[in-house]
Symmetry: D2
Subunit: 303 residues, 4 copies
Amino acid sequence: MDYNSILRKIKVELSAQKYQGEVASYIPELLSVSPDKFGMHLCCLHSGTYGFGDHEEQFSIQSISKVFGLTFAMSLMGDRLFQRVDVEPSGDAFNSLTLLEYENGIPRNPFINSGALLVSDVLTSYLENPKEDFLKFIHEITGDDTIQINKAVFESEKTHGDRNMALLHLMKSFGNIKNDVDRVLELYIYQCSITMSCQQLAKAFAVFANKGVTLDGKKILSPVHTKRVNAIMQTCGFYDEAGEFSFRVGLPGKSGVGGGIVAVHPGQYAVSVWSPPLNPKGNSELGMYALERLTSLTESSIF
Amino acid sequence: MDYNSILRKIKVELSAQKYQGEVASYIPELLSVSPDKFGMHLCCLHSGTYGFGDHEEQFSIQSISKVFGLTFAMSLMGDRLFQRVDVEPSGDAFNSLTLLEYENGIPRNPFINSGALLVSDVLTSYLENPKEDFLKFIHEITGDDTIQINKAVFESEKTHGDRNMALLHLMKSFGNIKNDVDRVLELYIYQCSITMSCQQLAKAFAVFANKGVTLDGKKILSPVHTKRVNAIMQTCGFYDEAGEFSFRVGLPGKSGVGGGIVAVHPGQYAVSVWSPPLNPKGNSELGMYALERLTSLTESSIF
Amino acid sequence: MDYNSILRKIKVELSAQKYQGEVASYIPELLSVSPDKFGMHLCCLHSGTYGFGDHEEQFSIQSISKVFGLTFAMSLMGDRLFQRVDVEPSGDAFNSLTLLEYENGIPRNPFINSGALLVSDVLTSYLENPKEDFLKFIHEITGDDTIQINKAVFESEKTHGDRNMALLHLMKSFGNIKNDVDRVLELYIYQCSITMSCQQLAKAFAVFANKGVTLDGKKILSPVHTKRVNAIMQTCGFYDEAGEFSFRVGLPGKSGVGGGIVAVHPGQYAVSVWSPPLNPKGNSELGMYALERLTSLTESSIF
Amino acid sequence: MDYNSILRKIKVELSAQKYQGEVASYIPELLSVSPDKFGMHLCCLHSGTYGFGDHEEQFSIQSISKVFGLTFAMSLMGDRLFQRVDVEPSGDAFNSLTLLEYENGIPRNPFINSGALLVSDVLTSYLENPKEDFLKFIHEITGDDTIQINKAVFESEKTHGDRNMALLHLMKSFGNIKNDVDRVLELYIYQCSITMSCQQLAKAFAVFANKGVTLDGKKILSPVHTKRVNAIMQTCGFYDEAGEFSFRVGLPGKSGVGGGIVAVHPGQYAVSVWSPPLNPKGNSELGMYALERLTSLTESSIF
């Protein structure tokens, strides 16, 4: 497959695409990012890496960190995690309390906010220094110990925590949060505040294409658990647009409000894109387009 | 891959498995089926077919017919179909009116009842003799013109149509049903009443593994539309257990209340199982188990 | 109490009031009514009757008929009716299927559409000629056998029955509708199509102020059942504005989409108003205002 | 009216009644109360007071305090309060977050938990020493400055605050809570922890029967605001049993999980009952019975 020319083609097409979406605006650090940023990076297991545009520039990974949180928690407690969080698509907006209330404090899946907060609670229970240990895990899965959080994002996010606090207290009222809610929220926000480039994200997600092993040969997760992370990304990775993404792109993946999307083709590659303007459902508009073109041009959907 | 020995192994394991579920009981024709029936049939694109147990005995395919309905409708009107039905998982019980009401009569996806009824409305608009034409389509996709409906099932289902009539009238109140509701319901029930064996189902679904072309070389659907059917099966094929099925089995698939499940490994095979006892979410209990074992033993999940 | 001068004062105030609402438009017969119509009629138990404006002109009583339906059904089967319909406010839009689905086909109260349809089912079971018998009941409660339905409204409403058919089929799927749904819907629409004037309505509702006895001394309902009808009007008479009406007017009452409202002061009077423009919640805008002024000026709220 | 003999009759009937409900058990202070306690006290505006049983024994008033909170807040800011809390029945369980989420953080009414928490937020904004000032208000409305909170209840309730914290954070995320959530919750719990006897409650609620003036002649609330409090009690005072209470008892009222109920007959009397066993909807089972008997025997429903 001539990935070089395929990515070139996508780059040309993108330059002709107009976006209509808007950059996330709830904190100044996201709002101030230029809407014209675009990066794409493809990391193949067996045939090299390819990238263009702003693919080496770091941005706020936001909800993409939920995949790392889930992976870390599964590496610590395995399938027992799923006694406390389900794996079904939510069919509802990403931060809804409604389902959580009807379902007795068991989040629908680990990628809606309640589920990711629950994962943070698990990590808080298992880890001695949750924030530092989480960052070490990121260093391990990327093989890059320069990755850090953006402190300004971290501080800003703290001032927008009321809805997540509501979710935490609601789950706690059902006995499904074990730690102090302030500590859990702090870890959650810390995770969201990590900054990475498309290149770093694609390399990290190559682990999910590679049965749980990093490209440097370090084992992060068992093959069966890796398969499960991919399955959850497939059905739950895009808020209430998971079906649309499966339909158009046909790969497991995860998006973040910072405009990043990462997708995985098991056995083949991981690919990441970054473009800040979001569509009405909160996913990167041009990012979705670029990934759809990639799987069309390479005929590489898992379906 | 030695599929013969793998299926033998599954057969042995199954004989040791107890089921706890119950056979569907809302019509006598389903209730009277022996809970001990079990059949499994694997239809590989390139390496033969394999089956055991009651894999040649016909049973009521019920909701599996929704995949055929969707496929037929997509072959008639392409992506325009998705202006009238969405492709998102429902996150709710299979016959819920709630979401339909909140979402202005646009069904969440073509595999919940409202969505399948909408597909029947589309077929009623496009076809001269909807029931006969649908049966012809089944004959074409299976290459087998002996397949028929079970008339007793057809008559019994007619007496249980109130919830579906509620869905039809609700969609009609939003202008999203174009034909007489009685005619639409009749076609819908007709589709559900078709009887097929595991062998026939696996052969039919091989089309979805084979980019839309039957094993006899007949083109049913374009490759891109075939990919979409698979994506919808992945995210929406199992009512509110779609995530669980992705998680455990890792293949696109569709179940029916008669105890059948069919799953597809694009590029590789289609596989069907039949075991009438259903788990609490309405999917064949032993069928789920057998498919999970198949993808584990063959390491052939798409994830 | 000098009701003459109080009603004169209200009339003057009303002439200075602008309305912002719009006349119901889903059938031409309602849309064609002049928005400037206004009538008000007060029928005291012990001190005469008072009216002004278009209070003798007949209009479509629409949902006000639900009170007559409930009263007739209670006179036939007493409190056993409440095994099939609850008496709680719905907290939701007037035609929502959601609650009905969650609550197993038991309508929240007799004044939401599902509840009124259930009452029509009861009447269909009990009456030999449901439509004729219902009209006779209206003649009896008003002491006026000239009252008829508007046939044009009756025919138009029939073409807008899909949502009500959805409700009927849903309740039937739970076993809570006993008759043919088409017959039940026909009776329901028949009831809604009755035309009455403010004067006729106030006289009819005087029964609820008078412990169930007409001003002519005819016993319609027992005192305890009359009290119950009033209680249900108080908590459920105004769709999702029942609280607002209690809060501002402070009387049990019932509104209709034709712009009519009737209210009852037990032991004192019944009062009706008619003004077609509706507020966003579907209740007559000037009607609400006039009633609020009446209870303020007479200090006659039940609270 | 011979209230003495009527209350004697009710007392006799009650001694023959079995209760099936259970005493509230979420905190030890409520669980330890004898289920056999029963008190009833009637405070007429013009014809004396009557009581029997444990009517002078203090108990935890719990949610009955929401009426005092609402009254105090209305006395401070009038109808502007209703820009931040609605007056519609909720049609849902008393602590549901669902409606609050759909309705953008505006509670349905001041008597569901979210609404009462919002009222506590208002009081926190207006009062210098919210807890002390609230207690003073209670002393004023009862004319009894011995009333205190139960400190053990206060401390126990604090350990059950997660669901209320979830409500507070959710409202805060919509900008509808202005103060520190911990302070608001503390005031809310303080209010709930007040202990009063039936006698004290009936005297306090006589204010609502008496156009806002205490029996000692002190003006607490304007007549129009008093009418509004009564209207809200009528439609929203009994969680999702408001309709049932209107239907059976026919008076505005408010219940508490401690087994107390107070009801008001405007212009006539206030009456309170106390019996700890609760029906499935959380209202005192025998208390409901006693009040139904009272309005039947005295024929004094407002309907």
